[in-house]
Symmetry: C2
Subunit: 435 residues, 2 copies
């Protein structure tokens, strides 16, 4: 009998218990795939979790005991957070363990350091579960599409945000009302900032962009804009123009630099990504050879995330005796071959815009606005003005052609300064998502 | 400088020239991913192809010269067909070459033999391009979802068929008319049997099912039904019930055996797969941990197919020095660990059905039909009868609950024998595609 792969799991929360369950439930089938059994040899957790059965498995209350255990081939980090997790990984790497982690914040913020340490020690670090849960998106991007120059990646990579937008779209409900419901359902954290302001999506986008373009992880360079200011009025206006509003993570190689941005985005209804509803995730990738592709599935949850964690374990188990150099590199590109392409400031990004203004019902307002746009070389593709009810402000909605964000900002500053224009100007970037 | 990976390409048709172009165009980026350059060292082709530049590359008119070339690490088979291709692969394997092929018919019909030979010689065989062109579906299924017990796979895996169905759906056009157009556009072969009767999809489904369930390749066991009998009347009726008709390849593990079937299928409009239009491909996979996932992209064409061919070359290049046992097995499961689960006869499959009959406008017809259905324990979920124009037959359309195909066949035989029922009974299987 061949030697089993010995796995140590640090953290027994939602994903940890899911990982134990999947490894136990599909034990025989997984062994048939790996060519040897996978054994959970050690679990580190402050407390047990009634959602999984760990009888017969060695358990330590100090997770560092797992990282120090000489029996362990692979340390699976599922504790979350960045400080202790970073220390745990560096300890395990120092002890020659391979690493599997689902920790997007850790990889996005400390990945460069962790990969350097792992590379020097000759061990592998896998993190499929860190982006889009069960969807094998990092493998698809870094291996499946490795023949391509990647042009762009656009993803619905936060399920809570997409759930809220879907409810606003399909049932005309308000942002605040749906957010409260999402919190009650357990989709959104009590502090929803990570989800609705784009932090979580920015972590994932950081990782996707590195693998797509071979650039170092640069979380601090991601432009972030949340969905909390969106109104049902904007959702309806977008619909009228033939668009849906999605909270996207976008990474694009412009040739002059890399765009890294998370923000609400109008996308055409006909694009498959626009049909992705509820808590589901989907990522679109455009490569120069393959053209547009899309990957869809559950982005969170115990079992879907465990699916990705265990896939990484299986891959390591298959190649456990292989040399470090024979494995696919952590970020798809070899560490000494990373690109130095700069990340663009958001003001240097060119997109089309949806703009919605509320103005006082006076003659000349539209003319003032149009003059400002013209002075900044912004051309308008479509515009409509909604008739005002008595004493209510008039809504002006327009779609622009492509324009440099810096020019749009200047124009909007001038428009905001007009006495007839009310304060709540909304502008949302538009992406056609074609090749 | 590290030694380059030396590739020999046999066949310089559409995919062959696409492969040369992608390897040349993305040469530097690919080397950064592999850790060493990839060099096209030898091309075997009966004639040159003006769509690619092969100046400076050794060319032989006899493809077997490439398989015999001691310089070559990897033989890329892109000649198509099964006889010569099989011989070429066995020759190259005998000479210790790794194999990359895009040949679905070859793998589906002779894969078991080829993998056995390759396993004994300790070489790798990769065939990502054989299924769904540029979509990295085999990698996603065999590696990305390796933690899962796969419940089912359902795919739009023939672009020509999907193009025809999309035109019938969106523009109410007839099958024959659209087929002629597809042939003129170059989507469909002059002999369209492979596409529209399901042979091409059955080849791909054979491969998908082996990787999903760890069963040997069993092309001869795939049930096949084409789309040539579909009418716009059926497409409209399906729409009225909330469904679209897609030509699906379906593989399901029932627990008592494996279903392998290619046929027109009603699927709910809300399912993402129903929104896949035109020549695009998409595959839905349901795993016990990950839940439903979907993979979408171009299923054919020079560049998309080359994307998958070159991805396989890159993977082999990365692990060129690794031991045979350290690589993922050909079909996802180890050769000595294949499942002996039987493939079910189509009559043993249980599905819901759409049934459309044309009957003479006489009292008692509906009662006769209902009695037959009841006698065979077939319960009807919805039914409608379209009012007859003067002298025209009446259309009766129904959706059944789930029923064993054998029972449905017997009932339909009896219904067809009724004097009042006309000959062209149409029945189409229905799949909800939920978990």
């Amino acid at each position: 009998m061949v030697k089993p792969v010995k796995v140590g799991i640090a953290g027994l929360g939602t994903v940890g218990s899911g990982t134990v369950n999947v490894l136990q439930r599909n034990n025989a089938e997984i062994a048939r795939r790996v060519g040897r059994p996978i054994e959970i040899a050690h679990i580190g957790a402050r407390r047990d979790n009634p959602n999984c059965d760990i009888s017969g498995i060695k358990v330590s209350r100090d997770i560092f005991d797992v990282a120090e255990d000489p029996e362990i081939d692979i340390l699976v980090e599922l504790i979350g957070g960045t400080d202790t997790a970073r220390e745990l990984l560096l300890t395990a790497i120092g002890n020659g363990k391979h690493i599997v982690t689902a920790n997007k914040a850790l990889i996005a913020e400390h990945g460069n350091e962790i990969f350097t340490a792992a590379h020097h020690r000759g061990v592998d670090v896998a993190f499929e579960a860190a982006v889009a849960g069960g969807i094998p998106i990092l493998k698809s991007l870094g291996e499946g599409l490795a023949a391509n120059h990647i042009d762009w990646v656009a993803g619905i990579i936060n399920g809570t945000g997409n759930y809220i937008l879907t409810e606003m779209q399909e049932h005309g409900r308000d942002f605040g009302e749906v957010l409260k419901e999402a919190q009650a359902l357990g989709y959104a954290e009590a502090d929803p900032t990570f989800d609705v302001e784009g932090v979580d999506a920015a972590h994932k986008l950081t990782i996707l962009a590195s693998i797509a373009f071979g650039i170092p992880l640069q979380y601090s360079r991601v432009y972030m804009e949340g969905i909390s200011r969106l109104t049902t009025e904007d959702v309806k206006n977008a619909d009228m123009f033939g668009y849906r509003i999605k909270h996207l993570g976008l990474a694009r190689d412009t040739g002059n630099g890399i765009e890294l941005r998370v923000h609400p985005t109008l996308i055409p209804k006909e694009v498959l990504l626009a049909s992705v509803s509820g808590v589901m995730n989907a990522i679109m990738i455009e490569g120069d050879a393959v053209g547009p592709t899309l990957y869809y599935g559950a982005g969170a949850g115990a079992d879907p995330t465990a699916s990705a964690v265990v896939a990484d374990i299986i891959e390591m188990g298959r190649g456990l005796t292989a040399e470090h150099e024979e494995r696919a590199p952590y970020l798809g590109f070899h560490a000494d071959q990373m690109s130095q392409a700069p990340v663009l400031d958001i003001e240097d990004v060119t997109t089309s815009f949806y703009v919605r203004l509320h103005v006082q019902d006076q003659t000349g307002v539209l003319k003032d606005i149009t003059q400002i746009l013209t002075r900044h070389d912004i051309s308008v593709e479509a515009m409509f003005q909604r008739e005002a009810e008595a004493d209510e402000p008039v809504a002006i909605v327009m779609m622009t052609h492509k324009v440099l964000e810096r020019d749009m900002n200047r124009a909007l500053d001038e428009i905001a300064a007009l006495e007839t224009v009310l304060e709540d100007i909304m502008r949302i970037r538009v992406e056609s998502l074609d090749a």
